[in-house]
């Protein structure tokens, strides 16, 4: 009898030693191996949104730094970044190339709302992780219908609802004009704004003007909006058009309460070309530290960022918020990949991306944490309002959650 118990104990002990070994087994999807993790992205390095191209370069530089430090769990990060010119048909073509020809493990930070809309069905049908897309459209946080797609930044609707609440509180009888890009990105912001205004939306919004991303300028739309007599302007434009709009608003002598969408809040890419003196008084939101803000001069995260830019991306403009953005997302990805350990299958990557708890990415504003879960595909859901004072963005108010 005792022998039987001893045998059982030995068997149990043996199985316990085997179990962790089975757990530590390496599992790889396409593009992953003992030495590298290959993933891809499409970025607008050319075309009307080429100001965003620096994000891809900053991210590539960050991964070079990680590789120099030994990689993630001993594996080198291999980012294949292709140009799609912000044109959805080209995005489709390049993503097919990345997934079927280059056999990447996942797509990371593909940029552009229309571009990502074009590939969302394909990525989900093929079960390829469509991670941390570089757009804030609300539809990326839908794990029920698109379990392979996840955004990263706060959603556009959340942001514009904050602007709406600000108007209702500070200028309750204002006449509002809206300029928006005529695609999913612009319409997402507009919807959030109208939802935030609630029943007052149709009364307060006196003029709406849209433009196509292929248009050369938005000057005529700005003139038309001023003619409506509005005292508040909500500017939903990508960097090139934002710079034009800000400059035109100032040049025609219009001084509205001017809300600028966060995607064009970069001092280097938008406000400097528009004219810093013409940008005074702009209101936007932030969720990461603006490198030009003197308040962060002695902040360790910002100092690390400047050191990184100097060494790994010296031709980039360290003062450009877009580079800080790329730096922060890249940090998030590295964290998610570290969590994967040796199980680098597409399913596990998605699983780990959907189980990030209270991640403190140093570049984010203090108090803002990244949280995801199988039912919450919105990693960042907190922002803070900021106003431009002619030199830099100055934060005000409290951190607002969704």
């Amino acid at each position: 009898m005792a022998n039987a118990y001893r045998a059982l104990a030995a068997a149990l002990a043996a199985s316990l030693t085997l179990a962790p070994a089975a757990h530590a087994q390496k599992r790889y999807g396409p593009g992953a191996s003992d030495t590298e993790i290959k993933f891809g992205q499409t970025m607008p390095y050319s075309g009307p949104a080429s100001a965003y191209g620096t994000i891809g370069k900053a991210e590539a530089a960050y991964f070079r730094m990680i590789n120099d430090q030994g990689g993630v769990n001993g594996r080198k990060l291999n980012l294949i970044s292709l140009d799609d010119g912000y044109s959805p048909p080209r995005t489709v073509e390049q993503i097919r190339k990345l997934v079927e020809d280059e056999q990447v493990l996942f797509a990371f930070q593909t940029l552009g709302t229309p571009s990502n809309t074009a590939i969302q069905k394909y990525m989900n049908a093929r079960k390829v992780p469509h991670l941390f897309v570089a757009t804030g459209a609300t539809k990326w946080g839908d794990p029920q219908h698109n379990p392979w797609t996840m955004g990263w930044q706060p959603t556009y609707q959340h942001e514009s609802q904050i602007y709406a609440k600000y108007v209702l509180k500070n200028r309750p009888n204002a006449k509002i004009a809206v300029l928006y890009q005529n695609d999913d990105y612009g319409k997402d912001y507009l919807k959030g704004f109208k939802d935030g205004l609630g029943s007052q939306a149709s009364k307060l919004i006196v003029a709406e003007a849209s433009y196509e991303v292929t248009d050369p300028t938005v000057d005529s739309q700005i003139v038309a909006l001023k003619a409506s007599g509005a005292g508040v302007l909500f500017n939903i434009t990508t960097p090139k058009f934002a710079a034009q709009a800000i400059r035109k608003v100032h040049d025609i002598g219009w001084r509205p309460l001017h809300f600028l969408n966060n995607v064009s809040s970069s001092v280097a890419s938008v406000l400097q070309p528009a004219g810093l003196d013409k940008s005074v008084g702009l209101i936007s939101v932030a969720y990461f530290k603006d490198p030009t803000d003197p308040a962060w001069k002695d902040d360790k995260a910002v100092q690390d960022y400047f050191a990184f830019m100097k060494k790994y991306y010296p031709e980039g403009n360290a003062a450009d918020g877009l580079n800080a953005y790329g730096y922060a997302v890249a940090q998030t990805l590295v964290q998610a990949l570290k969590q994967c350990g040796d199980d680098l299958t597409r399913e596990n990557i998605m699983r780990q991306a959907a189980s990030i708890k209270d991640l403190d990415v140093p570049m984010l504003l203090p108090g803002i944490r990244i949280n995801t879960s199988p039912t919450d595909f919105y990693p960042i859901e907190q922002v803070q309002l900021m106003r431009f004072d002619g030199k830099t963005w100055v934060l005000f108010g409290d951190i607002v959650s969704r």
Binding site: S87, P89, E100, A118, Q120, K121, Y122, N182, D183
Partner: protein
């Protein structure tokens, strides 16, 4: 001698067809996808050849008919749930009507003016497709995403292989129809109108009807190809159909060989694969490399690839006949 040539021709054709059928099983899915697109372009170039090669009417606007065909298929599939295979003939029919209607006022224009008018259509197309009034149907800037069709139940092929073979079947049918058309009374009328329009009219050929129908048939071919293209790429958006597409078709037509049915295949292979090769050679200036390729082809083969092959064939035939005569 002529009898033997025909026998060789049939053998060569069957061998080529067998090779094309075997292609998707030997290549990766991505390459199969690229070859499917090449077949789609071959159908377009066939249509363009009917209009420009055989009937002498220059068109720089076939990208517009391609777009109409693609959007017809996409809207039918997305909004009305029409099965994908039914959208192909429907798209062809829609483009036949559009092509014929465009061909009627185009009768007044010749040469450069016709080229300009057709180019205007091509350039206007993206803006028309983005027009807010029809945005509900066309999806505006965002375009329409189509689900990739599955092979019918019981067929052991993957989606890319099935689409390739389907496109190949349609292409073969279109090529046979074109061959019959060109070698019939209609084709001869078209060629007569191209070479000597006044003499042709004097002989009783209804110039208006034949020229407009050439436009219509050409647009039908392009529409069928557009529908197939939309299904294969699974996405249509206004920016897929810019003026550059029409220029590309013209390039394929000339490089492949005007007034030649086989030229459509060579031209299609050129416009599908040479940009990719150029991209591999130089990431910085791929279009410059593409231009160099075009110049090289135009210089070495002024009558197109088909013309060059015909010349080479007849030269070797003469040489062997001469050798045989001497022996």
């Amino acid at each position: 001698m002529a009898r033997q040539a025909r026998w060789w021709q049939w053998l060569g054709l069957l061998a080529a067809l067998a090779l094309l059928c075997a292609l998707p099983f030997a290549l990766s899915n991505y390459r199969t996808f690229q070859f499917t697109l090449a077949l789609v372009y071959a159908i377009v170039l066939l249509g363009l050849n009917i209009l420009t090669g055989y009937n002498g009417q220059i068109s720089l606007g076939h990208g517009a008919f391609y777009a109409i065909g693609a959007y017809t298929a996409a809207i039918l599939m997305d909004k009305f749930g029409v099965p994908y295979w039914a959208t192909v003939p429907l798209a062809g029919a829609v483009c036949l009507v559009f092509g014929f209607l465009f061909g009627l006022p185009a009768l007044r224009l010749h040469g450069h003016y016709l080229a300009l008018a057709t180019f205007a259509l091509a350039v206007a197309m993206p803006q028309i497709l983005k027009y807010k009034g029809i945005e509900e149907w066309t999806g505006g800037v965002q375009g329409i995403v189509i689900l990739k069709p599955d092979p019918p139940a019981g067929v052991a092929l993957n989606q890319d292989q099935w689409l390739y073979l389907l496109t190949l079947a349609v292409a073969v049918v279109m090529f046979v129809l074109a061959w019959n058309l060109i070698h019939s009374r209609v084709g001869r009328a078209w060629m007569a109108l191209r070479d000597h329009p006044i003499a042709a009219e004097a002989m009783g050929i209804n110039s208006a009807l034949y020229k407009a129908s050439a436009f219509g048939i050409s647009a039908l071919y392009t529409g069928v190809a557009g529908a197939l293209g939309a299904i294969v790429v699974q996405f249509v958006a206004p920016d897929s159909f810019t003026g550059v597409l029409s220029i590309n078709f013209l390039i394929g037509l000339v490089i492949g060989g005007l007034a030649s049915i086989s030229g459509a295949v060579w031209g299609a292979l050129f416009i599908q694969f040479v940009p990719n090769i150029a991209d591999h050679i130089s990431k910085a200036a791929p279009w410059a490399i593409y231009g160099i390729f075009m110049i090289a082809f135009a210089y070495a083969m002024p009558t197109g690839v088909a013309g060059f092959l015909r010349l080479a064939w007849s030269r070797t035939a003469r040489r062997t006949a001469g050798a045989r005569a001497q022996a």
